[in-house]
């Protein structure tokens, strides 16, 4: 799962002066023609840097995203939900594995990326810094956060970097199952007992503001990203993704008799655009910079897992380790 709230590095005006203008022109022409850039192809340093940053943030979001939902695996009500949620969260960890591999093709090792995650140097999707208080929260995440991720990832799958696009295609196929699972859970909650309906409504009320933040700051205030759009690193604007999400899912939420905690939310039939209360971007910035309800906890869990697993990884690297050929 991942949102569009990418934190791109602010680019210097001089970022491209060291690049060979002929190679740069050819690179841009290839992208313009819709060709994919592959790991061994020439690419500007800035392209490499921004892609590493983006794919890495995406990979981190997958493993950190496994935590709020993961806490509900051991509490999922009934066999069907327990099995489905296990498989769903396992997929997310698998996505991290795929994405770290895609980022490694650009020259940064998985170990270095994970180090940068646990030291707080690199970011992950802001939404996972909020707690999943009840089962209904996990249902919200599976349906709507994954839905948001699909909107964003389908756009990025059309980007210019081959390994990332191929990873995203596989990821989107799995996410579409998550979406069906999540929708199924929410339908059961919304049409269930009074208690279940109340739990679901409370989850929507809690998660709506972070969901609106999920796609990143409004284009009018976000970092200038023209060149990233031109290079097909960033494929759709934050506002366009948010609009698409609202268009697809607000009617589905309302259809279930649930309400959305924004009295200004409505579709303007003349413009075809959704109108809504502007999310609190100061809160977004505060949370992404480390001061959210769960930032410390999420990183502490990841750090503990890394520390506790170190002896295993060291043992695998030991020269006398017997390499056992898997039998299948």
């Amino acid at each position: 799962m991942y949102g569009g709230g990418n934190v791109f590095e602010r680019m210097k005006a001089t970022a491209l002066v060291d690049e060979d203008p002929r190679k740069l022109a050819e690179f841009e022409a290839r992208i313009e023609r819709g060709e994919k850039i592959e790991p061994k192809d020439w690419m500007p340093q800035l392209y490499r840097k921004q892609l590493i940053r983006m794919i890495e943030q995406h990979a981190h979001s997958e493993i950190i995203g496994a935590l709020p939902e993961g806490t509900w695996i051991t509490r999922a009500p009934g066999f069907k939900r327990k099995l489905a949620l296990m498989a769903k969260v396992q997929d997310e960890v698998g996505h991290a594995q795929l994405l770290y591999a895609a980022a490694e093709t650009l020259g940064k090792s998985r170990e270095k990326m994970i180090d940068d995650l646990i030291t707080g140097k690199s970011k992950y999707s802001n939404i996972f810094n909020y707690p999943a208080f009840t089962w209904a929260d996990s249902c919200f995440i599976s349906w709507l956060v994954d839905a948001g991720a699909i909107v964003n990832q389908l756009a990025n799958a059309k980007g210019s970097y081959g390994p990332y696009c191929r990873a995203l295609e596989r990821i989107c196929a799995e996410e579409s199952f998550h979406l069906k699972y999540g929708h199924h859970c929410v339908i059961h909650m919304a049409t269930g007992s009074k208690k279940q309906r109340e739990m679901m409504q409370a989850a929507i009320n809690r998660w709506w503001p972070p969901m609106m933040h999920f796609f990143g700051p409004s284009d009018t205030i976000s970092v200038h990203s023209e060149i990233l759009m031109k290079w097909k690193v960033k494929m759709a604007s934050n506002d366009a993704c948010r609009q698409q999400f609202l268009d697809m899912y607000v009617p589905k939420i309302w259809e279930l008799g649930l309400t959305i905690p924004d009295k200004n939310l409505q579709k303007n039939n003349e413009t075809g655009q959704w109108e809504y209360t502007e999310p609190d971007w100061d809160e977004f910035k505060r949370v992404i910079n480390g001061d959210g309800p769960c930032n410390k906890e999420r990183l502490a869990v990841r750090r503990t897992a890394e520390e506790r697993g170190r002896w295993v990884r060291e043992a695998l690297l030991a020269p006398k380790t017997k390499y056992i050929t898997p039998l299948a």
């Binding site: 493993i63 496994a66 935590l67 993961g70 509900w72 695996i73 051991t74 509490r75 999922a76 009500p77 009934g78 066999f79 939900r81 327990k82 099995l83 296990m86 498989a87 969260v89 396992q90 960890v93 698998g94 991290a96 594995q97 770290y100 089962w135 859970c185 059961h188 909650m189 269930g192 007992s193 208690k195 279940q196 869990v301 503990t304 897992a305 506790r308 697993g309 170190r310 002896w311 295993v312 990884r313 060291e314 043992a315 695998l316 030991a318 006398k320 380790t321 017997k322 390499y323 056992i324 898997p326 039998l327 299948a328």
Partner: protein
């Protein structure tokens, strides 16, 4: 057909799988490497899925729905060996338990494919394929970590010493052993334990680990009769937390 004997056998298998599957799932997000998060989750899904199928057999024999049986009993009504309810601890203990348990589970299923009780024979024919992969996964890791660094060898040795008495609790004899053997439902815990010990010895021999003397071990018994460690009830409370909000609800 002695229904009580069959139920006793199926309950202990189902409860072992549900509880260990639940423990395996606790590794999601916490593994020593992503690949192990994924592997333990796969095994958790297989085990919980297998337990579900076994509770369905019990349902056909007249017991409650699988969800009710799994989510509404208290610890003293569970028949799993104490071994599977112990906390995951570090990866060393989880790996040793995985190795010892899955070696036994695979052998048990292989024996049960011959069972005169057809539903169990059919089910074990199906799930032994999954169990084979669990056992292979454990053996690969045992061989790798059991002869790698001083730390990895020492850790696995400590875990092995701690786990072994509990592992023997898997073979706690049922009051129906004689019936099960006579009716060719199951060849019995003793026969299974002999095969298992040979299997464990053969793998340990390929590592730098030392197997404790079998005769010196005191098996941790009682789990099959509902006597459990302090770790099971909190696990069950967590597992049923949402289900019990409204047991009649459709979640």
């Amino acid at each position: 057909m002695n229904t009580e004997a069959i139920k006793e056998l199926v309950y202990k298998m189902a409860d072992d799988l549900l509880i260990l599957g639940h423990r395996n799932s606790e590794w999601t997000g916490f593994g020593p490497l992503l690949e192990e998060d994924i592997a333990f989750s796969s095994m958790a899904q297989d085990k919980v899925g297998q337990s579900w199928q076994m509770y369905k057999i019990l349902h056909e024999l007249g017991d409650s729905e699988p969800d009710t049986v799994a989510f509404m009993r208290n610890a003293n009504q569970f028949h799993n060996a104490q071994f599977v309810e112990l906390p995951n601890g570090e990866y060393d203990f989880s790996l040793i338990r995985h190795f010892l348990f899955d070696s036994a589970a695979l052998l048990r299923y292989q024996m049960l494919t011959e069972s005169s009780y057809t539903p169990l024979a059919n089910l074990t024919k199906k799930i032994k394929g999954e169990a084979k992969y669990h056992s292979m996964h454990a053996k690969i890791w045992m061989k790798q970590l059991g002869s790698a660094t001083e730390e990895s060898i020492q850790r696995l040795q400590n875990a092995l010493d701690e786990a072994m008495p509990y592992a023997l609790g898997l073979f706690e004899p049922s009051p129906y052993e004689a019936h099960l053997i006579k009716d060719k439902i199951f060849a019995g815990e003793e026969a299974l334990q002999i095969l298992w010990q040979k299997e464990v010895e053969s793998i340990i021999e390929e590592t730098q680990l030392i197997l404790p003397d079998w005769n010196s071990l005191i098996p941790a018994l009682g789990g099959r009769n509902g006597q459990h460690t302090e770790h099971l009830q909190p696990l069950l409370d967590e597992m049923s937390e949402v289900f019990k909000v409204d047991p009649s609800a459709d979640w």
